[in-house]
């Protein structure tokens, strides 16, 4: 099993039963993350980027219909007994959520919530678990861990709460960390330090990191590889540096143009991407991006393009060759 | 969040109506209530029997279609169906008017407290906390004992109990509204606080008021029935569902139809009002979509 990658999604399809029939939120996503690397999933809200991972790990409030495979070290999470999956979560796979204040239970002390993550460690007694919780808080540079442990979530700041979430995700030194918009709810001043903490965790422990974000700028400094998602599909993947330098898909180009940090412009070009993605569940004939695409052609309206090679280690789902546009 | 008054959502967004219409329970409740209300209003006009005419030759008749007394007669020969429908009309009128008064008092109090904020809000809402802890039914009975059984007094006493919940909810809502841009803009423009409440806060409380009005009506009907049951409410020959249930309960072994008619009417009426209230709540307030 050594050959199998750390984490792999294979042709993942996720559908929910809605009022108007089944709604497909993820349509055949395939991705791979290797140990010690960071993969950024980039896309607008509603692109299915969070859904792909949350539903693969059984972390949705209603149960969707799922097809495909989600392999962790070669074991399929989708066919795993619930008990085994629960044992993996929090132990081998850590999860960090978007808004720390709504994801921390308001009525329980931080300590009580941190210790939940240590329940599988039968060899630790209560006081050892407390020490481990303290150490985990110190490792995310919280200066008075004792006070934080005894606090309720509403008594600490958002940045502090997100550090607590990271500490919880890291407390068992997991092999894979999935961070869903970890900095969106935070002030700009705390954002960078949280991203640094994440990268540090990956580098120090050789874990895999998946960071889900709508901000391609945030991904730029952090990720080794990037996967851009649109309307429930991956439309472009490849090494981060190469994608940022020469995006192949017009949507990726739009995202980069809209990110102020990357273009060096003082104001983001808000017009870079007019309109919004098609509503989930809408049956589409052509490319889902056709309506917003600045270089749309007739072929785009009839058949959706599959992912095709677009340079070394890169794939892009567009009918138009990169060379054609650049030229 | 949009800045339209929430009541305007009803007009501008058909979604609220659609949601309400799709709420099967709420539609069933609305239809049942309409039927009940129509029966309550029309029966006294159409029926050949009057609610207070004593017919000594028809005492204690059991329900019988041939004689026209479909729910039988009571022990002084009055038609039970006509009296039940009259009782329903009285209960509905008392419920609706007392609910309107108490909801408006509560909304005004809550809006003032929530808008004032600070120490004023603290004091006003701690008073509400205190009043909440008083077993008001006993105070109402006390008032009835002291000042006699007066219909108007009954009405005032009920309204005085029921405004508290509304005050709490309005206060919380106003506190949220106070931080919105259009309120701050109105304040910066130098509008008098009273006008800010009337013009900008009140319209935004519309949806909330409609919801709590429908939820307060059944509660008030229950209180009125309870007091009337004890003989502290509506007096003969006028009647209400509580009076009829009290009379029926005394004759339950000899003439069960005397109890059946008002009980079925009261229960149906309360269920339909509760269903409408729940439906409105989930239609107007998506946050609280309790079934």
């Amino acid at each position: 099993m050594n050959a199998s990658p750390l984490f792999e999604l294979r042709d993942l399809i996720v559908r929910y039963k809605g009022v108007q029939g089944r709604v497909e939120v993820v349509s055949g996503v395939s991705l791979t993350v290797e140990q010690g690397t960071c993969l950024a999933i980039v896309g607008e809200s509603g692109s299915g980027k969070s859904q792909s991972f949350l539903s693969a790990l059984g972390l949705t409030s209603s149960v969707p219909e799922i097809h495909g495979a989600a392999l962790f070290r070669g074991h399929d999470l989708l066919n795993m007994p619930k008990k085994d999956l629960n044992a993996l979560r929090g132990d081998r796979i850590g999860f960090i959520f978007q808004n720390p204040h709504s994801f921390l239970a308001p009525h329980l002390r931080i300590e009580s919530q941190m210790l939940e993550a240590l329940r599988g460690r039968g060899e630790m007694n209560r006081s050892e678990q407390r020490l481990a919780a303290r150490a985990a808080l110190s490792s995310v540079r919280i200066e008075d861990p004792e006070r934080v442990l005894q606090s309720f979530p509403f008594e600490i700041s958002g940045g502090m709460a997100q550090r607590v979430m990271i500490a919880i995700a890291m407390i068992n030194a997991p092999d894979l960390v999935i961070a869903d918009e970890p900095t969106t709810a935070l002030d700009a001043s705390v954002r960078n330090s949280v991203l640094e903490l994440l990268r540090e965790a990956v580098d120090r422990r050789g874990a895999g990191l998946i960071i889900i974000t709508h901000d391609i700028g945030a991904a730029a400094g952090l990720a080794d590889a990037i996967a851009v998602m649109y309307a429930g599909r991956v439309i472009e993947t490849g090494p981060a540096a190469s994608i940022l330098a020469s995006p192949a898909h017009p949507y990726t180009r739009g995202l980069i143009a809209a990110a102020p940090k990357l273009t060096g412009a003082r104001q983001p070009r808000l017009q870079a991407l007019p309109g919004g993605p098609p509503p989930a569940g809408l049956a589409l004939d052509g490319c889902p991006f056709a309506d917003r695409c600045p270089t749309v052609r007739t072929a785009c309206r009839t058949t959706a393009p599959d992912l095709r090679p677009a340079g070394p280690g890169r794939l892009s789902a567009c009918w138009i060759e990169t060379a054609e546009i650049v030229a | 969040m949009n800045q339209r008054p929430e009541s305007a959502i009803l007009r501008t967004r058909p979604a609220a109506w659609t949601r309400f219409a799709r709420h099967r329970g709420a539609m069933a409740g609305a239809i049942m209530l309409l039927v009940l209300a129509a029966a309550a209003l029309l029966t006294p006009l159409i029926s050949p029997f009057s609610y207070d005419e004593v017919l000594w030759d028809r005492i204690g008749q059991s329900p019988d279609i041939a004689s026209g007394h479909i729910m039988g007669t009571d022990f002084v020969g009055r038609d039970v169906f006509v009296r039940t429908m009259l009782g329903l009309a009285v209960s509905l009128v008392v419920g609706l008017s007392a609910a309107a008064v108490s909801v408006l008092i509560g909304a005004a109090y809550g809006a003032i407290a929530g808008y004032a904020g600070g120490a004023t809000e603290q004091i006003m809402m701690r008073i509400v906390d205190g009043l909440f802890a008083i077993p008001f039914m006993f105070v109402v009975i006390l008032v009835m004992v002291v000042f006699g059984r007066n219909f108007f007094l009954l009405f005032v006493a009920i309204a005085a109990i029921q405004w508290l919940t509304m005050a709490r909810i309005t206060c919380a809502q106003t506190r949220i509204l106070r931080q919105r841009g259009f309120i701050i803009a109105a304040e910066l423009a130098g509008l008098h606080p009273a006008l800010v409440i009337l013009r900008h806060i009140a319209p935004n409380l519309g949806g909330l008021i409609v919801i709590y009005l429908t939820l307060t009506i059944p509660e008030i009907i229950l209180i009125e029935s309870f007091l009337s049951f004890l003989g502290m409410g509506v007096q003969e020959p006028l009647t209400s569902l509580g009076v009829l249930i009290s009379d029926g309960a005394k004759e339950i072994y000899t003439a069960p139809w005397l109890l059946a008619a008002p009980v079925v009417t009261l229960t149906t009426c309360l269920i339909s009002l509760n269903l409408i209230g729940d439906g409105l709540r989930s239609a107007l307030d998506p946050k609280d979509a309790s079934p």
Partner: protein, 308 residues
């Protein structure tokens, strides 16, 4: 927590004083004296009676001496039964009310929390709908309706339970009053519990707890039930008031010699001191239960303690 408890006490104490004051002056403002029914008493006898009840003294003096008496557990003599002390009547009647009230409240909680939780967790639309209909009907059938119907079914048609009397507090005399009193309130609690559980079950903090590997048992107990109980606990105060109010009717319908029955008799007899005494007893009971409820809710909900 201690500050919070003192904060709640600071509301409860003045409320109680306000109730006593209001009731006292309300009764003194009542038209007609206590001896109206005996009509046309010779003036000297009436003066004697007034002196006996302290009615010839200034109002404020009457009030302070009454409050002083109440603090010592002395509510003065009954107006109607001249040789009987109000406190003796209360001492006889209150245990009956407390017994059926306590039983009713227990039934309310057990049934309400159980049915509410079952309704929230119910799998399959049939069970969920059935429970939801049961709750709606339960709310719409008040005690004064269910009591006579229960008496008819179990007392007369099936003839298995007594329909009237205290029977020295034997269990079979308590069953029907307990059900009639507990079921309508249980329906309210069930509705509250269901709404609150459904809210907790969709909360994001549950996803996070599952993501860090918390056990299903811990999630149900600490992440769903514990926070879902907060609004139910807060409703305990109003529920106890509602049960106490309901006991007035239940005691009348089942001919129980309780405080509620005494209250109605005293009201109809215009036995002012007895009415006043009972109002004070009831109010104290409810205000204390509300205080207890607040403290319990504060213990469950840290945000409440912190005053946010």
């Amino acid at each position: 927590m201690i500050r919070y408890i003192f904060g709640r006490l600071a509301i409860a104490a003045p409320t109680l004083l306000a109730v006593v004051t209001l009731s006292f002056f309300l009764l003194r403002a009542a038209p007609g004296g206590p001896f109206d029914s005996t009509r046309a008493l010779p003036p000297e006898i009436e003066a004697n009676l007034n002196a006996l009840y302290g009615l010839d003294r200034p109002l404020t003096e009457q009030f302070t001496s009454y409050v002083g008496g109440v603090l010592r557990g002395d509510f003065g003599p009954s107006y109607r039964y001249r040789d009987v002390q109000v406190s003796d009547i209360v001492a006889d009647a209150l245990p009956v009310s407390l017994a059926i009230g306590g039983l009713g409240l227990s039934l309310t909680l057990i049934l309400g929390i159980g049915v509410g939780a079952a309704s929230a967790l119910a799998r399959g639309p049939a069970l969920a709908t059935a429970l939801s209909v049961a709750i709606s009907v339960g709310i719409a059938v008040p005690s004064f309706v269910s009591a006579p119907i229960l008496a008819l079914i179990f007392g007369v048609m099936l003839d298995i339970l007594p329909v009237a009397g205290w029977g020295g507090g034997r269990a079979e005399h308590l069953i029907l009053p307990m059900i009639a009193l507990g079921v309508p309130n249980a329906a309210f609690v069930a509705r509250l519990m269901r709404a609150s559980m459904l809210e907790q079950m969709t909360s994001e903090s549950i996803l996070a707890a599952r993501a860090r590997g918390a056990s299903p048992r811990r999630i149900i107990l600490r992440h769903i039930l514990q926070p879902a109980l907060i609004p139910v606990v807060s409703y305990l105060g109003p529920a106890s008031a509602s049960i106490l109010t309901g006991s007035v009717v239940i005691e009348q319908l089942f001919a129980l010699p309780g405080a509620g029955q005494a209250f109605i008799d005293a009201s109809l007899n215009r036995d002012y001191t007895l009415v006043l005494g009972l109002v004070i007893v009831f109010a104290t009971l409810v205000i204390l239960l509300n205080l207890l409820t607040d403290i319990l809710a504060g213990a469950l909900n840290p945000r409440l303690r912190a005053g946010r």
